[in-house]
Subunit: 597 residues, 2 copies
């Protein structure tokens, strides 16, 4: 798939021209890149900072595969050389452990992130191998590191694993590009060792790093959200390559319950700041939504693997929800700042982040240029650069189109659309093939019964799921899918205590938000209620709702023996913004869920 | 005031006979007490563990003052001797810093808790001085430590303060019992230094330790809840002793806004687990209520000081709310386990805490015997032992009775009541005084217009606030205050997003809770809704509501384009329990706020 303009194309251009240069700047400025060449005593950054360089390399590898660039190639080559020089002869590579004056290697598996860093190194190598350079220096570095991991943590080695999964999917992926079964076996050992109290109990409990129960016994994703989804991705890769259907089914069951009970309307996961973790079922408070960008990235990785394994359109629905409303939300319009946590409710207008130093916290009033823990910008970059990988699949029967993105697919057809701004998606067949083949299009669950398909002059209603047209397609044939783009209210499951009595607004795949800059004269969006009797409509290209500004009688304590008196003032039509674009106009207050009146 | 039976008397007996022996056992078992006599390398516990010994000593001092005990006296004397032996000649006293192999003293003011520990040492000394032993060894130890603090942190000393306030009120209190103005001046310096970015910025921000703005400029309590209220207590003590009305007014304003917007219905404060902190206004999620027991203790300290300064009955109302529903909730019925955090909603039945080791987390499914950070048990103990100090005040005009507790006040009258089980409070004058004097009784805000007063055979309605009867009281005169004890629904301020559409139940000063053990056959209290059309009533001595068990249609994601269908099944009458007594029957699920139907 080659993306050509549109919403996703713009993200890729922003990534290439703004985000990647921005990351280059900050990896230098923070000294995290120099850690590979300076003495141990001058090392900067947290214990996992090496992984940012690797995710950056992965992003560059995908981006160079997408479209050459002398400039990006030079950055890539220099960085790979620096990393390769730092690798020890036996394959060990980490700037935080093992050198004089540092703690010994593998001495802090629960928090040290050594295998985590190597996992991201390997994923960068895999990206390079997949984009036409299977013998590249980066691939060699990755293999040397992976060999050391197998020597050290194999059947007769250290019987443990890393506190933060990611090496698991990385090793299976490296097996896929190299064919070396040792990597697959090592991934299996890491997945199977987890869940037996292998790592120490910690303040957050062993569920934090999914060491509370074996992957195949769990019933739901839990603990640290990024750890949970990276582990699930690894388990699915393993299940796929070993034909372990029991493991696949177990993760699928966990995923279904998680999506039904622990996912924000944006697709975000993780409702606890303290341990960056899932809450219990239906614990989805918008104001404490952590919804880490990286967890969104990992959630897409999981859903993609499940889609490949099952063909269930719910997987592609969640990818769409998460891409438009979490991953696309993180980077600022100019690509020079990011959300780490993606709250669904900002109550107070805070201070602007300091533009000259990494934000000390994952939360920020508006997007921050960098963070002390800056996992998200590089994760956004590698995802943007590889977006085309999530659009379509092919099997013996034909091609399945899961996401609607302008561009060409398999040189066989072109997708022409302004989606999600508009709902019409035209597919024009470019290349004629003698045999008939099936074109499958996903009708999103949110479309309800409002979608139509037009083929050869005939139009009919299509239901959510995949609609498949099989024929001997001719060049110039056109298929048009029309998705209903009227904005709509969304109601929460009554078990989500935190948003009882509230509604959200969606249009197509986009979640909308009420931002204070759009209700001038009103102190905070918390004073606004939406008239649930008037569905949202489009006015002059904006989604608007009708609403009231309310005030509540004050009391000495926020409790009373009689219901509170609330008085309201009509605000008329109130425009909303797409959630992914909020906070691009300076600090504001914001709500996705607004109390109904 | 001498407490004699009743609710508070039982708490004091439980403290003396169960809680204090339990603490003695665990301070030995954990090695925290031995830290004072062992070598630095064998030190156990967190950096603030010395403070537990000091709070324990404070509890013993109050308890011995209340009623002698050879056994408790021996424990007290031995412990004081151990502590005194560990004090260095210049007054320094801390088992974590300053000895060979340890970091130097005052090298980690933001996290080291050295001054915090000394603050609790001084408060123990003050308790000893106030209970008839102004020249006790413990008082001498406290004064030596305080002198060192003044020498080290005075006008020309280290221009900083501790990350965790408590030395501030302690120094003013020591000034009160010794008359040494240096202590008052040092407290002033500590209070005034805070809020100027004196300590480093940290991940939680400087608001965490109230170093974001000066005490007199703040508008609300914020940051770490215990730090916030201990600091406020110190500022109020300082304002009182220096006649600084501006400071008093500033703290009073902060308190009013805090109580109106940041206090749980139980009186608990702190709605964030991550940093044990206040959330923003109206952020009071019941399921993530941290409501630390120690924060409740500190909140009572603040409200008591404000009551003395202002006479505002709202202060005594909050003390009552907090004592019955936070502080009384912490200890188990047998006095051998404690809540650290006091949630208002338990969703899942977890595992029982390990009886043989300190709970690694502040949260526990039911009360835990001890914690790795075990500040709460000793804080409960010192509060229980000094409860009589919160009951009444005296001025030139007479006596003001703020809380209704069986016992005798100033040898002048006896309070006879079964409150809060029943609403009748009889006051019998015991001692005749020639001059007339005023007896003031607080009518709680929650009484609405349902309270009556009977004096000399006449009965009339009395409104919330203080009702004052001034006369020449004769021995045998009787005053009867009747408070309305019908259970009642309580409605939340509509700005508390987290409990929209819910009701709570209160009766007198007690908050009630729905506990799963009382709805057998229902999986979780989350399935229960309360019929808001039927007010709660008393049936066979229990508070009951009418309710339904509901089930909700399942969906792939917990959001839908149409409102969810909910079906219900009548559960008839459902008994509730007083919140302070929940979780005494094994693990359960529990809700204070229940969705209304």
């Amino acid at each position: 798939m080659r993306i050509d303009g549109g919403f996703w194309g713009e993200l890729q251009e922003r990534n290439r021209h703004a985000i990647l240069p921005h990351i280059t700047h900050w990896l230098d400025r923070t000294g995290w890149l120099r850690n590979f060449s300076t003495s141990p005593g001058r090392r900067r950054g947290r214990e996992f900072s090496d992984s940012e360089i690797y995710k950056f390399l992965e992003a560059l590898a995908w981006e160079l595969g997408r479209s050459p660039s002398a400039e990006l190639q030079a950055v890539f080559d220099e960085t790979v050389a620096l990393v390769a020089d730092a690798q020890l002869p036996d394959g060990y590579l980490n700037t935080r452990f093992g050198r004089p004056g540092q703690e010994p290697r593998w001495s802090d598996l629960e928090w040290g992130h050594e295998l985590y860093c190597l996992g991201h190194l390997i994923q960068a190598g895999v990206a390079r191998a997949r984009t036409g350079h299977p013998d590249d220096l980066l691939v060699q570095v990755a293999c040397r590191a992976a060999n050391l991991v197998c020597d050290t943590f194999g059947e007769d080695g250290i019987p443990s694993m890393d506190g933060h999964p990611v090496i698991e999917p990385a090793l299976v992926e490296l097996y896929r590009v190299t064919g070396d079964r040792r990597y697959l076996e090592q991934a299996r050992l890491f997945v199977e060792r987890r869940g037996h109290g292998t790592l120490p109990d910690i303040e957050f409990g062993r569920a934090y790093y999914q060491d509370d129960m074996p992957v195949r016994d769990a019933t739901v994703f839990r603990g640290h959200a990024v750890r949970a989804v990276y582990l699930a991705a690894g388990a699915l890769d393993l299940a796929d390559e070993t034909g372990d259907d029991e493991l696949l089914d177990a993760v699928m069951r966990q995923w279904r319950r998680t999506v039904a009970r622990r996912v924000y309307v944006t697709g975000g996961i993780g409702s606890r700041h303290q341990d960056e973790a899932f809450g219990e079922d239906f614990v989805l408070p918008p104001d404490r939504a952590y919804s880490e960008t990286c967890a969104g990235v990992g959630s897409v990785m999981v859903a993609w693997r499940l889609l490949l394994a099952s063909g269930d359109p719910a997987c592609a629905d969640l990818i769409e929800r998460t891409l438009y409303n979490v991953i696309a939300t993180s980077p600022a319009a100019d690509g020079k700042a990011f959300f780490y946590a993606n709250t669904l409710h900002r109550r107070e207008i805070g201070e602007m982040p300091d533009p000259d130093r990494p934000n000390p916290r994952p939360t920020a009033t508006v997007r921050a240029p960098w963070f002390e823990v800056s996992c998200c910008p590089t994760n956004v970059a590698r995802t943007m650069a590889s977006l085309s990988g999530y659009v379509a699949t092919e099997d013996a029967d034909g091609i399945q189109l899961h996401q609607y993105v302008s561009g060409t697919v398999a040189d066989r057809f072109t997708v022409i659309t302004r989606y999600p701004a508009e709902g019409e998606i035209a597919i024009r067949i470019d290349r004629e093939i003698d045999d008939p083949w099936s074109l499958s299009l996903r009708v999103p669950e949110w479309a309800g019964s409002g979608a139509t398909l037009t083929v050869g002059g005939h139009t009919w209603e299509v239901e959510p799921g995949y609609v498949t047209e099989r024929r001997r397609w001719r060049a110039g044939d056109e298929v048009v899918l029309c998705l209903p783009m009227e904005p709509r209210f969304t109601y929460p499951d009554p078990r989500v205590d935190a948003v009882r009595g509230c509604v959200a607004v969606e249009r197509g795949p986009l979640v909308y938000a009420l931002e204070s800059v759009d209700v001038p004269g009103v102190g905070s969006v918390d004073e606004v209620r939406v008239d649930a009797g008037h569905p949202p409509v489009m006015v002059d290209g904006r989604v608007v709702v009708r609403g009231r500004r309310v005030s509540v009688e004050e009391s000495a304590v926020p409790y009373s023996a009689r219901p509170y008196r609330v008085v309201g003032e009509d605000l008329g039509e109130i425009p909303l913004v797409a959630y992914h674009s909020w906070a691009n106009r300076g600090p504001s207050t914001m709500r996705v869920w607004v109390a109904a009146c």
